[in-house]
Amino acid sequence: MEDLIVKLKSEIIKQLNFEDLTVEDIDTDAPLFGPEGLGLDSIDALELILIIEKNFRIKITEADDGKSILRSVKTMAEFIEKKRK
């Protein structure tokens, strides 16, 4: 799980262009959207879905609860782990 979390964080930094952040700067449990977290918006949400699909070949479908899955790095990792099984 730890490797997965590090991978997700480094993809977030790269694809969403957080040039000044390191993996250590991103709180695993903090909300990604909204002012308390990284302040992501709807376009970033699409990028996060792409990160999951590109790196782990897992699609988030209409049946999945996208909002909950993308809530934090932790919830994203948990979703991926679950789908892998």
């Binding site: 694809q15 969403l16 262009n17 040039e19 000044d20 302040g39 376009i43 792409l50 699909e53 590109k54």
Partner: protein, 343 residues
């Protein structure tokens, strides 16, 4: 009508005296002059900057700099000229679309590739809900933005508009522009003389313009004219004559010409036609790009503001010019005249 200038900003290769700081690159078939990259954080919040490609950052930085000088936080309107738009993001999206066979495309690169992104991001950054437009027409992209500003301010004399341009040169573009087959079609006769002085370039410049003179106004644009001259051939002097007779360009009293041409003989003829005005071929300081007139306008403002070491203007007139003519004729098709005077 006059457009008074009270704020300017730019990201470019710098003043003629500073040009050696610019990223010149002589290693290719045709050389390139790149901008001196500023510290963008000075005017752009890093949180906001992550979504901005370089060309947008260049434009936004120049725009904020102009607003800062004019002591204005929200303009009444924003108009931008960009001839090639957001090339880096266009290339990024295109390449990824092809590599991934039209699946897994990044929305950020797509939305940042649209030409109006520059004007739009400036509006978001400044909270400007006013008039907003973008022109992308080759050698007239910046001039159209200026003319539109004249029209808008003509209807509302109290308005203040932010007007500018941004064009970038990417490695991918340079690769294409320097291919021999492309050079053949480039419209330039690349003989050895031209090769000595020709460079591709890039830059962004923004101007805060008002219809009425303010305490901060230090120069004014007194005319902007464009005419499409595909049949002019090589005859810049004929274009000049036509400009005066058909298009009522007022060139009386011009004492400095910033010319987008490259030929020394042409420069001498121009000077003679304009009662001995000094002629400086400005593209040796900024390179060739389709919105280079904005560099010339920025340089004009810096001269009229007395912030320029004038030794690059050849000997002759002792005093600072009072009326500057910027004349460009990209590929001898896109002919434009801009006159700028002291206030």
């Amino acid at each position: 009508m006059n457009l008074y200038i009270s704020g300017i900003g730019a990201v470019n290769a710098g003043l003629p005296s500073e040009n050696e700081k610019a990223g010149g690159d002589q290693s290719r078939e045709v050389s390139v002059i790149r901008c001196v990259e500023p510290d963008y954080k000075k005017y752009i919040d890093p949180k906001f900057a992550r979504r901005l490609s370089r060309i947008i950052k260049m434009g936004l930085y120049a725009a904020q700099m102009a607003l800062s000088e004019a002591a204005v936080s929200v303009p009444d309107g924003i108009i931008t000229g960009t001839s090639l738009g957001c090339l880096a993001d266009t290339g990024k999206f295109l390449n990824s679309m092809i590599e991934e066979n039209e699946s897994l495309s990044s929305p950020s690169a797509f939305i940042q590739s649209t030409h109006n992104s520059i004007s739009s991001q400036i509006a978001i950054a400044t909270g400007c809900n006013g008039y907003n437009s973008t022109y992308t027409n080759r050698g007239f992209s910046f001039e159209s933005a200026l003319i539109d500003a004249m029209l808008q301010i003509g209807e509302n004399n109290k308005a203040g508009f932010l007007v500018g341009s941004s064009d970038e040169i990417t490695d991918e573009l340079l690769e294409i522009l320097t291919k021999p087959r492309f050079l053949e079609y480039s419209g330039y006769n690349f003989d050895n003389d031209l090769k000595q002085i020709f460079s591709y370039g890039e830059g962004a410049a923004y101007f805060y313009l008002t219809g009425e003179k303010t305490a901060g106004s230090y120069c004014k644009i007194t005319s902007v004219k464009t005419f499409f001259t595909p049949n002019a051939g090589d005859d810049l002097i004929k274009i000049l004559d036509d400009a005066v007779s058909f298009h009522e360009a007022d060139l009386h009293g011009v004492d400095l010409v910033l010319s987008g041409g490259y030929r020394r003989d042409e420069a001498l003829t121009l000077s003679a036609k304009l009662s001995g005005a000094e002629v400086v071929m400005y593209k040796k300081y900024c390179g060739e790009y389709l919105t280079s007139t904005s560099y010339a306008l920025w340089l004009s403002c810096m001269i009229l503001k007395h912030e320029v070491d004038e030794s690059f203007i050849d000997a002759g007139k002792a005093s600072t010019p009072g009326k500057i003519l910027i004349m460009n004729s990209y590929e001898n098709k896109y002919t434009s005249f801009v006159t700028v005077e002291h206030v």
